[in-house]
C-alpha cells in the first residue's frame, strides 16, 4: 500500500470515528451495502449458472442441427456432381476432350466450347459449385476448367484426380496446392462410350456457400457465431474471416478440443480473444470442426441485467433506509450529543456546564449521572482548591522554609518564607545548587546527610544544623530536616524543612552566659554570707576593742584601721550581693542628692578617667521612696552603660529634679500612678542608640556588647528595680548624639529621711528588755549576746531553733527575738511566728548574710519586725534593737 493511500485511509478512518451519527449511518450503510452486494453476487451467479446451462443446451442442439445440415448439404452436392455426368452432352464432351490426342485439335476445341456452355449454365444454376474441371486420365492434365487459368496444369498427383479415376469420391476439406485455400471437391470418373475411364470431372464446391449454411443463426443472438475450421486450424471460409488476420490459423480451447476429435461444450476464450460459451464438434465425415459460440457477455447479459436491477433496487432501499436511520439516529443521538457537548465544555474546564435531561430512558439517566458527576467533580475541585490554598498559605506563612531539591542538587521549589529568611526569591534558588550556600565548615555535614538519604540508609534526617549565607552575605544558622522523596511521583526530590534558629542560638548563648553569671553570683553570694558573719564578728569586736579604756593612742588607731578595713570589706560584699541581686528590697525615704553624693567615689572608680562626671543635684528635692541600695545599683548600672557608650570619652551628667506625672501621661503606661515624683537622669554624649536597640533596651539579655563584656542584665535590672519601686523609666537617644535615661521615683512628703539620723548618731543605744538571740554561727552569737548584755539587755542565746523555742518557753518573757534568717531545720521566720504566739508582744529582728528568695518578710515587718543586713557594727545593731523596741 502506498503512503498517500495509507494516509488517506487514516484520515477517512478518523472522519468516520469522529461522529457518532456518521458512524451509525455509515456502519448501517456499509452493512446493508455488503448485504446487497452479496445478494447481487449470489443472484448473478445463480442466474448466470442457469443461463449458461440453458445456453449450452441450446448450443448443443444448434450444433447437432448444423452437423446434420452440413452432411445433408455435402451429400446433396455429391448427388449433383453425379447427376452432371448423366447429362449426355456433358459426358460426351468431357470424354472426347480427355481422349483427344492433341488438345489443340479442332475436335478438342469444339468439345471445349460445348463444355464451356454447359458448365456456365450449371454454375449459374448451382451457386454451391465453385468450379468445374475436367482432368484427362493422361497425366491428370486439366483439359477444361471453368477457371481458364487452370487449364494445361498436370494434377495427376492430386487426390481429386487419383480418387476420381477410381470412383465418385468426395475430397474432404484440405488446403488446395493451387489456391492454398481450404478446398472441398467431388470427383467422378469420365468414361468414354466404351466405358473406359478417360478422365475425371472435378466439381469444386463453394465453401463460402457451405459456410453460409453454418453461419445461418438460429437463436444465437446478434453476436453469436458458428464456423468451420479444417484440421489444420484454418478457417474454412476465408472470405468471412479474412485469412490474412490469421497467418497461423485460429486457435482456442474449443478448436483444439474439436481437432483432437472431441465434442462438447465449455467456456473458453475464442480465437479472437473473446470469452465465449461454445459448443464444439468434430465432423469426421467432412474432416471439419464445427464451433458454435456465444460471447459470455451476451450470454450472461440477462443475468447481468437482473443483477443490475437487483443492485439498483437494493441500493435504492439502502439509501432510503439510510435516510431513515439517519433521522432515527439523530433523534437517538441528540441527547447523547448534548451530553457530549457538555462533556466537551467540562473537559475544557467549564465545570458549570450541565447536560440537559430530555428523556427518561438510559440516555436521560446518563445525562443525570453526568450532571451529578460534574457537580461532584466541581465540589471536589473547590474543596481541593481550598485545601490547596490552605496548605499553600500554611507553607507560605510558615517561618519554616520548605525546599525541594532535585537529584541534581538544584532547588526545584522554595517556599516564600525562604525569601523572608534568607533573602532569595524562588527564581534566585532555581538552578542554584543549595549546597553552594552552605558555610564551608558545615558543607561536609550536609553532604554526608544528603548522601545517606540518597543511598537510602536514612529515610529522613532531622536536627541537621548549619550556617547558610543570606543574600546580603550574612550567615544564618538553620536547623533542617530532610526527607528522601525521590520516588514520590509528585515530588521527585529531597524535601528539606528548615527554620532559622539564629536568634535561638544567640539566646541560648546568652542564657548560657547568664547562667554562668548566676553561678558566679551564687558563689559570690555564698561567700558573701560567710564573709558577712566573719565581718560582723570583726566589726563587733574591733568596735568593742576601740571602746575599751586603757588602750594607748597607737593601739586605738590600729583598732580603728581594723574597723575601717572591715567596713570596706563589708562594702565589697554588699556590692557583690547587689550584683548577684541577693539582697532584700527595703524601700524607705531616701534623699537622692545625698545618695548620689555618697556614690561619687564609687562612680569615679567605675567610670574611669576619660569621662567627665557632672553632678547636678536639684535644690528642694523631695525624698523618694525606694531601697537605697537598689537605687545605688540603678545609678551604677546607668553610669556603666553610659561609659560603655563613650569609648573615646565624653561627659556623664547625673541630674536630679522634682517631677510631676499627670494622668494623661500615666494612662499610657500600666501601673503608673499620677503624682509627684523625683527624677534622676543619667545623660551621656556617647554613640546613642537607634530605634531598634531602644525598643529592646530593657529586655533581659539584650546587649550590644561583645560576649563577656556585658551580661545583658544591667538595664533589665534597672528597669525591674524601678518598676518594683513603683517608678518609671524613659530613654531619649539619638544615634551619634548620646542618650539620656530618666528614672522617676515616687516622691514622699518633705520629711527628713531616717538615714540622716542613722549616720549622725554613732553612739550605742541601751535598754533593759529581755532579748532572745538565735544564731547558729557561734562567734556571731557570742558577739551579739555580749554586745547586747553590755548594752543592758537580758540576753538568752540559742544556737538551734529548738533550743531557742525551749528557752522561749522557759524564760518569763521575750521582748525581742534576734534571729538569723537561715537556720538549720527551721528558718528564722517560722521560729519568729512560734515565739510570737507564745509572747505576742515580742518584737523580731532578722539578721542575715543575704536574703534568698525564701526570705519574704511579712507585711508588718516595718512595725514589729526589723531586718539587719550582716555585717553590721555594734552601734548599728544596738541602734536597730532600740529602734524596734521603741516602735509603738
Amino acid at each position: 500500500m502506498s503512503m498517500p493511500f495509507r494516509s488517506v485511509a487514516r484520515s477517512l478512518a478518523r472522519f468516520f470515528q469522529s461522529s457518532l451519527l456518521i458512524r451509525i449511518v455509515s456502519s448501517f450503510f456499509l452493512l446493508s451495502t455488503v448485504i446487497v452486494a452479496f445478494l447481487t453476487v449470489f443472484g448473478f451467479s445463480f442466474l448466470a449458472r442457469s443461463a449458461r446451462g440453458r445456453l449450452i443446451d441450446q448450443l448443443e442442439a444448434i450444433a447437432a442441427i448444423k452437423v446434420t445440415t452440413l452432411n445433408t448439404w455435402v451429400d446433396e452436392q455429391r448427388r449433383h456432381a453425379v447427376s452432371f455426368m448423366v447429362i449426355p452432352d456433358l459426358r460426351r464432351g468431357a470424354a472426347s476432350l480427355c481422349s483427344a490426342a492433341a488438345w489443340q485439335s479442332a475436335a478438342a476445341e469444339q468439345a471445349h466450347a460445348r463444355l464451356d456452355r454447359i458448365f456456365s449454365l450449371l454454375l449459374a444454376e448451382f451457386p454451391e459449385v465453385h468450379a468445374i474441371s475436367v482432368l484427362s486420365a493422361e497425366g491428370g492434365r486439366v483439359v477444361f476448367s471453368t477457371q481458364a487459368s487452370q487449364e494445361g496444369r498436370y494434377r495427376l498427383l492430386d487426390s481429386e484426380f487419383t480418387e476420381g479415376m477410381r470412383a465418385t469420391s468426395i475430397q474432404s476439406v484440405h488446403p488446395s496446392p493451387i489456391s492454398l485455400e481450404p478446398t472441398m471437391s467431388i470427383s467422378t470418373p469420365v468414361r468414354d462410350s466404351d466405358g473406359r475411364t478417360v478422365g475425371v470431372l472435378v466439381v469444386s464446391l463453394n465453401l463460402d456457400s457451405m459456410d453460409r449454411i453454418i453461419q445461418e443463426r438460429t437463436g444465437l443472438g446478434s453476436t453469436g457465431e458458428a464456423y468451420l475450421v479444417d484440421r489444420y486450424s484454418t478457417f474454412v471460409s476465408g472470405s468471412r474471416f479474412g485469412r490474412v488476420n490469421y497467418p497461423r490459423g485460429v486457435h482456442s480451447a474449443g478448436i483444439d478440443a474439436a481437432l483432437r476429435g472431441q465434442s462438447g461444450s465449455a467456456s473458453y476464450v475464442n480465437y479472437a480473444g473473446v470469452p465465449v460459451i461454445g459448443s464444439y464438434r468434430w465432423i469426421p465425415q467432412q474432416d471439419l470442426a464445427l464451433l458454435v459460440e456465444v460471447p459470455q457477455s451476451d450470454a450472461l447479459q440477462p443475468a447481468a441485467r437482473h443483477a443490475l436491477l437487483l443492485v439498483g433496487i437494493g441500493l435504492s432501499l439502502v439509501m432510503a433506509l439510510a435516510f431513515g436511520v439517519y433521522f432515527l439516529a439523530r433523534r437517538l443521538a441528540e441527547p447523547i450529543l448534548a451530553i457530549q457537548q457538555a462533556a466537551m465544555k467540562v473537559s475544557a474546564g467549564d465545570l458549570s456546564a450541565t447536560a440537559p435531561v430530555v428523556t427518561r430512558d438510559e440516555v436521560g439517566d446518563l445525562a443525570e449521572a453526568f450532571n451529578r458527576m460534574t457537580s461532584r467533580v466541581r465540589d471536589l475541585y473547590q474543596e481541593l482548591e481550598q485545601r490547596e490554598e490552605h496548605f499553600r498559605s500554611l507553607i507560605e506563612s510558615s517561618m519554616d522554609m520548605v525546599v525541594v531539591i532535585g537529584a541534581d542538587g538544584v532547588c526545584g521549589f522554595a517556599s516564600p518564607s525562604l525569601e523572608r529568611v534568607l533573602g532569595y526569591t524562588a527564581a534566585d534558588m532555581a538552578a542554584r545548587p543549595l549546597l553552594s550556600l552552605v558555610h564551608p565548615q558545615d558543607l561536609e555535614k550536609c553532604r554526608t546527610a544528603l548522601a545517606r538519604l540518597a543511598a537510602g540508609r536514612d529515610s529522613i534526617v532531622t536536627g541537621l544544623t548549619g550556617r547558610i549565607q543570606h543574600k546580603d552575605g550574612s550567615w544564618h544558622t538553620l536547623e533542617a530536616s530532610a526527607r528522601n522523596l525521590l520516588d514520590h511521583p509528585a515530588i521527585r526530590g529531597y524535601v528539606v524543612n528548615a527554620r532559622d534558629i539564629s536568634e535561638r542560638v544567640q539566646l541560648e548563648d546568652k542564657l548560657a552566659q547568664a547562667q554562668k553569671m548566676e553561678a558566679v553570683g551564687r558563689l559570690a553570694g555564698g561567700v558573701a554570707h560567710d564573709f558577712n558573719n566573719l565581718l560582723t564578728v570583726v566589726l563587733g569586736y574591733s568596735d568593742e576593742l576601740a571602746a575599751c579604756a586603757g588602750l594607748d593612742e597607737e593601739a586605738r588607731a590600729n583598732v580603728a584601721e581594723i574597723g575601717k578595713a572591715a567596713s570596706r570589706a563589708a562594702d565589697l560584699t554588699q556590692q557583690l550581693l547587689a550584683y548577684s541581686r541577693k539582697q532584700v528590697l527595703q524601700p524607705r525615704l531616701i534623699d537622692l542628692n545625698a545618695l548620689l553624693a555618697g556614690m561619687t567615689g564609687m562612680l569615679a572608680r567605675l567610670i574611669g578617667e576619660d569621662v567627665r562626671v557632672v553632678m547636678r543635684p536639684a535644690a528642694d528635692l523631695r525624698p523618694a521612696r525606694a531601697d537605697p541600695s537598689q537605687i545605688v545599683q540603678v545609678v551604677m548600672n546607668l553610669a556603666a552603660n553610659a561609659r560603655d557608650a563613650m569609648p573615646r570619652g565624653g561627659t556623664l551628667v547625673i541630674e536630679t529634679a522634682p517631677a510631676f506625672l499627670d494622668e494623661e501621661y500615666c494612662s499610657r503606661f500600666p501601673d503608673l500612678a499620677p503624682g509627684k515624683y523625683v527624677m534622676l537622669s543619667v545623660s551621656d554624649t556617647g554613640t546613642g542608640m537607634d530605634e531598634d536597640v531602644r525598643r529592646q533596651l530593657f529586655e533581659p539579655f539584650f546587649t550590644t556588647k561583645d560576649v563577656g563584656k556585658g551580661t545583658g542584665l544591667g538595664l533589665a535590672t534597672v528597669y525591674g528595680i524601678v518598676r518594683q519601686s513603683g517608678g518609671h523609666i524613659t530613654v531619649d537617644s539619638e544615634v551619634g548624639r548620646g542618650s539620656t535615661f530618666r528614672v522617676f521615683l515616687p516622691a514622699a512628703g518633705p520629711e527628713t529621711p531616717a538615714q540622716a539620723a542613722q549616720h549622725s548618731d554613732a553612739s550605742r543605744a541601751r535598754g533593759a528588755e529581755t532579748i532572745l538571740v538565735l544564731e547558729d554561727e557561734e562567734p556571731v552569737r557570742r558577739m551579739i549576746a555580749n554586745l547586747l548584755e553590755r548594752s543592758g539587755y537580758t540576753v538568752h542565746a540559742a544556737a538551734r531553733p529548738p533550743e531557742a523555742l525551749r528557752k522561749a518557753e522557759e524564760i518569763p518573757r521575750v521582748d525581742l527575738l534576734v534571729t538569723d534568717v537561715v537556720l538549720p531545720g527551721m528558718n528564722g521566720r517560722e521560729v519568729a511566728e512560734i515565739v510570737r504566739r507564745r509572747c505576742p508582744a515580742a518584737r523580731v529582728l532578722f539578721i542575715s548574710g543575704y536574703a534568698s528568695g525564701a526570705m519574704d518578710l511579712p507585711g508588718d515587718l516595718s512595725r514589729e519586725a526589723g531586718f539587719l543586713m550582716k555585717p553590721f557594727t555594734p552601734a548599728v545593731l544596738t541602734r536597730k534593737v532600740r529602734e524596734i523596741l521603741d516602735r509603738r
Binding site: 493422361e138 495427376l156 488446403p175 485469412r243 497461423r248 486457435h251
Partner: protein
Amino acid sequence: MRSSSLRRAARRGLTAVVVLLLSGCLRPGPGPELRIGFIVPLSGPYGPLGGSHVEGAQLAVAEANDAGGLLLNGRRSKVTLVVRDGSNTPEKAVAVAQELINRDDVSAIVGPILSSQAIPVAHLADRAGIPMVAQIATNPEVTKGTRTVFRVCATDDFQGRAMARFAFGSLGARRVALLFDVASAYNSGIARIFAGETSSLGGRIVAEETYTTGAQDFRARLERIKRARPDVLFLPNYPVEILAQVSQMREVGLDVPILGADAMSFTEPRYNAAIEGAWYSVHFSPDRPDGRAGEFMKRYEERYSRAPNQAGALSYDAVSLLFAAARAKGSVEARDIADGLRSVSVFEGVTGSMIFQGSPDPKKGVVVVRMEKGSPRFEARVDP
C-alpha cells in the same frame, strides 16, 4: 489475440520467469526453443531420398544442441527439428506445411525437396510470414514473388544453362534430345531452360519427348529419339524414372551420351552403374572438398558411418543458413529470422559459397561430374 500468439506469449512469459529464476543462479537461462519444420519425402516413390536430407539437417541441429543450444543474444536456444513426410504430392506437402505452421508452431521451414511441392509450400509460408529455405528445390518459381523463401542451391536457370553450355562447349554436342516429365515442375522447368540455352548457343533440339508423372513405358519416345540421331540425350528426371529410361534405352538400342541435372545423384550407389558415363550437375562434390566441406564430411562420417551425399550437404547448409539468420537477429521469431535471411549477403556453406546480395537465390556454382566406374568424377566447375 490469436491463440498461437497467446501460446507463444505464454511460452515467452514462462521463459522469462525461468530466466528470472535462473538469473538467481548467476547464469543466463536457456533461450526460447527454435523449432524448424523439415519437409522431405519419407514415403512414396521419393521416400528413399529423404533419409540423407534428414541426416544432414539433424547433423546441423545436433551440432548446435551439443554446444548447449544455438547462442542467441548470449543465451542458448535449443533447436528442434520437426520432421514431416511430404511424400511426393503437392497436396501432401501443402497439408504438412499448413500443419507445421498452424499446429506445430515452427519458426521456419526447410524443404520440400521437390519443386512441385516447394512452389505451393513457398507461397503458403510466404503468406504466413514463415521463413523457408529450399535445400534442393531448384525451380525458379519456388522463390519467385515471395519475401520469406530462400534457397541454398543453384537454380534450374543456372544449372540448366550450365549443362547446355557443357554439352555444347565441352562435348561439342550440336544435336540435342530431351526426355522429361512434363507434369513435374522441376523436370519441365530445367528442360525448357536447357533447350532454350542450347538453341541460343546454336545447337539444335532434335527431339523433345515428354511424359507425365508415373509413366512406366518410355520405349516409344526413346524410339523417336533414336530416329532423331541426337549427339546427347538430356534426362532432367528423378532417379526412379532415369533408371527405367536408361534400361529401356538399351532395349531400343539408343546409345547416346546421357546428360542429367542434380536429380541424377542417386542415393544408393548400387544404381550408379546404370548411368556409367553420364555427365550431370551436382551441388556438392565430395571428391574436390575445400576446408569446410572436408570438416563436414568428417563429422558426417563420424555420425552416420558413411560419406555424405549432396542431399545431406544441402540440408545441412539449409539449416545452417537459418541458424545464421537467427544469430543475425538474435531471435527465434519467424519474422526476425526472415529479416535475418534477407540480411545475409554471403554465406559460406559446406556446398560452397553463396552470394545472396538481396536475392533469395544465391549466386552459386555447380560441379559437372561424370559417372566413371560407379562413382561420380569431377569434370568441371561452373561458377556463376
